[in-house]
């Protein structure tokens, strides 16, 4: 011990301690956290080749010949199969026209073509994979818990009832009432357009299933109060009241106010 005690004020001790501390934190973190390496769902070689062909025809003019990105489109290296599937199968890609954001439309590619393109992009670099049926199974999920998560993480853009909302400069968070569980999952892991990524580390699969269950419950739930007026609250309520209800009142007032002839 005398050896250490004598050298404890050596200028290098601080540096050594710092390195040791950082190392300890780093190793402990890597031991505790189980960050899964992003998976590449590697499709068959022919699928990848088909996908590349489709990519070169339909996508490369904006995203570059090697998916490295260009002036008009971002790099697709590492975006994963989930992103490709989400963007292409909802018709957002290929872009119909440049604008504030890609709008969903009738998809141009069929299921196999989308799978091929996903496989090609996934083969370039690992990224979020297309979810498995197990990932998407929300039958055991807690709807109420999903509602809480939805209101914390999603409602500020997608609105509390998932009806969508405006973002800046013409961008918007889309209405979720037609979204499928797979689209919801893929959007969360890939973060399309303005949406942040909710990776499986920040929002575990179990929570994703709960959120999905809540959105599905919203899609299926009846309106106990009658006509829903879009479930967006005061704006449509006010419009309905002024136009329909007040119209009826004034009509009645005019009718009563007419002089007897």
């Amino acid at each position: 011990m005398k050896f250490l005690t004598a050298r404890r004020r050596n200028p290098f001790v601080a540096v050594l301690l710092l390195v040791a501390a950082l190392g300890a934190v780093g190793f402990t973190f890597s031991a505790v956290s189980n960050i899964e390496p992003a998976q590449a769902s590697l499709g068959s070689q022919t699928q990848v080749e088909d996908g590349k062909k489709l990519y070169l025809e339909g996508c490369s003019s904006c995203h570059g010949l090697d998916a490295q990105g260009a002036m008009s489109g971002p790099s697709l290296i590492g975006v994963g199969a989930a992103a490709v599937h989400f963007q292409v199968s909802t018709g957002r890609m290929p872009l119909a026209a440049p604008g504030a954001q890609a709008t969903a439309k009738e998809p141009i590619y069929d299921v196999e073509e989308v799978a091929a393109m996903s496989a090609y992009i996934a083969s370039l670099a690992p990224g979020p994979a297309i979810p498995t049926a197990e990932d998407l199974d929300y039958s055991d999920a807690d709807i109420a818990e999903g509602g809480v998560l939805f209101r914390i993480n999603c409602a500020q853009c997608h609105q509390a009832a998932g009806q969508g909302g405006a973002l800046t400069q013409g961008k918007y968070a889309p209405n979720l009432m037609q979204a499928t569980p797979q689209e919801i999952y893929e959007a969360m892991v890939s973060g399309p357009q303005s949406m942040p990524v909710f990776s499986n580390e920040t929002l575990p699969i179990k929570d994703k299933q709960a959120v999905t269950a809540y959105i599905m419950a919203l899609q299926e739930s009846p309106n106990p109060g009658g006509l829903s007026l879009g479930r967006i609250g005061p704006v449509t309520e006010g419009l309905f009241m002024w136009v329909a209800v007040f119209g009826a009142f004034i009509g009645a007032a005019v009718w009563i106010g007419i002089k007897a002839r």
Binding site: G147, I152, Q159, A166, R231, P234, W242, V245, F246, K259
Partner: protein, 580 residues
């Protein structure tokens, strides 16, 4: 009332009336008042909508107090709405959910309460438009206008406190904004917010406090003011539109009993019925979808109810200005839109009758309403104010509008900001010009009759357009216009060289009076009107006979031609006489 008492119903009525009168002495009062005459016009029923919807609000609200629990104690929901089962929430929110899902008829009553509250404020606004644009606030009714402005402010308060009670995500977000508004008041803001919320936001106090205000204080004052409002209408008598036989000193209409009571009673049931119908069929404020309030959550498209929308819009449109003065932060971005603008608007509203009377020097009593065109500046100011309000209102829903119509939120915000400053003056000028145009048209009608659209060729070849005299009703309405002279410009000093001490004030008043009145198209004198109408009658008398085709004594002769039989046609005058 019939003097003979032979009908059995009348006998019973008579006995009852006698019984009551012997105890209350009420016959004299009733006899005097049940025959009171009210003038008839559909726009006079707008205030009634407010009264009736307020009655519905009171009835349904009383029902809701039986089940609502104004407490911010956190509980775990265990009711029948599955998507919220096991979620932590306040007792206030849980009891609101229970009203919606567990209490029999609860959702219907809750929705009726909310709809009728929205209608109440809307009816007040529309009633106020009617009173403003017809000049019904003029002497002697200025005080009743003030009571009305007070009622408007209280209605907003009643609405907002009610909006906040369910403690759902929307109400909580609204309260958060109220807190911000309180904090923006210079110097005392922070402490005012602490005072209102009983500490930090959201705390545990605000819901019980709002509840006390919502169910006791505000409705109590509203009821008292409604009573005063109606008593003043009763004693001052209702105004009426100009028309045949209507003067400033009489009231032409129907007696309270039975005609007006039947009309008003029937209208009450119509209003109640429509509210019940939409309460059952149309969702309002689906609190279960918005979820319980927690300060870390907010939903896109969060709006207040329509009547607070303009304030929210003002907040949204205001640029983010802020300055630090002597260590105090002044948040102009909140202070201007939510304290100063509503302050100016409500003060202006309250003072308007006095300002207009002062500016125009109008000290006359007015029991006849003024047609909006005959007060172009007032009408213009009103329309400009509505445009200003409307733009703020649109601003309150700007995110929903941007999303619904695929607009850029930013472009919309800037358009509204510019529109807020540019459009009201344009609206003023356009409205004023339209009013003056209508005045010119009225004058034209008085001195020349109205254009029949028929052109007549006189025997010597001259073409004239036939003008016809106005019917008695239109003549009475148009000729009821009253003119006011512009106040004379004051002199700086009189003939003896004595300085006029009020010169500056008088000068301002002269300018204002000129602003209000200088463009007025003067009503022709009675003699001019009489001459004009007589002239029109004469020109109508000249008119060529306008037979219906079948009336003519004629035979078709093939190829579309007709053959007129010769004979002695009636003279023009004979035909005109015959037609009348």
């Amino acid at each position: 009332m019939s003097t003979t008492m032979d009908h059995p119903v009348e006998q019973v009525g008579g006995v009852t009336a006698k019984y009551v009168d012997e105890r209350l002495g009420s016959n004299k009062f009733l006899g005097r008042n049940l025959g009171k005459v009210f003038p008839d016009h559909w726009s006079f029923m707008l205030g009634e909508i407010a009264l009736y919807s307020f009655i519905v609000v009171l009835l349904t609200g009383t029902f809701l107090t039986l089940f609502y629990n104004p407490s911010m104690v956190e509980v775990v929901y265990n009711g029948s709405y599955v998507p919220l089962k096991g979620v932590q929430m306040s007792e206030a929110y849980a009891s609101s959910l229970d009203i919606s899902f567990e209490v029999r008829g609860g959702l219907l009553i809750r929705q009726m309460h909310h709809w009728s509250a929205l209608i109440f404020v809307a009816a007040i606004a529309v009633h106020m438009f009617r009173v403003f644009f017809t000049g019904a606030f003029r002497k002697p009714r200025e005080f009743n206008w003030l009571v009305g402005v007070g009622l408007t402010a209280l209605a907003l308060g009643a609405g907002f406190t009610g909006y906040s009670l369910p403690d759902d995500l929307l109400s909580g977000t609204g309260l958060q904004i109220i807190r911000g508004i309180l904090q923006s008041i210079p110097l005392i803001g922070t402490w005012a917010a602490f005072l209102v919320f009983g500490g930090e936001f959201p705390g545990t106090e605000i819901i019980p406090r709002l509840y006390a205000a919502h169910i006791l204080l505000i409705p109590g004052i509203i009821l008292a003011l409604i009573t005063v409002h109606l008593m003043m209408v009763w004693t001052q008598k209702h105004t009426q539109f100009p028309g045949p036989g209507r003067t400033n000193t009489n009231v032409v209409g129907y007696p309270l009993l039975p005609v007006y009571m039947a009309k008003a009673g029937g209208f009450f049931f119509i209003v109640f019925g429509i509210i019940a119908l939409i309460g059952g069929l149309v969702t309002v404020n689906p609190i279960w979808i918005f979820g319980p309030y927690t300060p870390d959550q907010v939903s896109a498209g969060t709006q207040p109810d329509w009547y607070i929308g303009w304030l929210d819009g003002a907040l949204r449109l205001m640029p983010n200005w802020e300055s630090v003065i002597a260590g105090f932060t002044i948040s102009w971005n909140v202070l201007i839109p939510s304290v100063i603008i509503p302050g100016i608007l409500f003060t202006g509203l309250a003072l308007y009758p006095f300002l207009e009377a002062w500016a125009t020097g109008d000290k006359r009593e007015h029991n006849l309403l003024e047609r909006p065109r005959n007060a172009p500046v007032r009408t213009g100011i009103g329309v400009a104010a509505i445009v200003f309000y409307g733009i703020l209102w649109i601003g309150g829903g700007n995110d929903v509008i941007a999303a619904a119509f695929d607009l850029s939120f930013n472009v919309l915000a800037w358009s509204l900001r510019i529109g807020l400053i540019v459009l009201p003056p344009i609206a003023f000028l356009v409205t004023k010009r339209i009013c003056l145009g209508l005045q010119r048209k009225d004058r034209e009608k008085l001195v020349h009759g109205y254009e029949s659209g028929r052109v007549l060729r006189l025997p010597h070849g001259e073409f004239i357009e036939v003008h016809q005299p106005l019917n008695y009703k239109e003549l009475a309405i148009i000729s009821a216009k009253e003119d006011l002279p512009v106040l004379p410009a004051p002199v700086k000093s009189d003939a003896d060289g004595v300085r006029n001490p009020n010169y500056r004030v008088d000068q301002l008043r002269h300018k204002l009076s000129s602003f209000f009145l200088r463009d007025n198209i003067e009503r022709p004198t009675d003699a001019e009107i009489e001459a004009g109408q007589a002239h029109a009658a004469h020109s109508a008398g000249l008119e060529a006979p306008l037979h219906e085709y079948e009336e003519l004594d004629q035979d078709p002769v093939g190829h579309g031609g007709v053959l007129h039989h010769p004979g002695m046609p009636m003279t023009n005058q004979e035909q005109v006489d015959q037609r009348q």
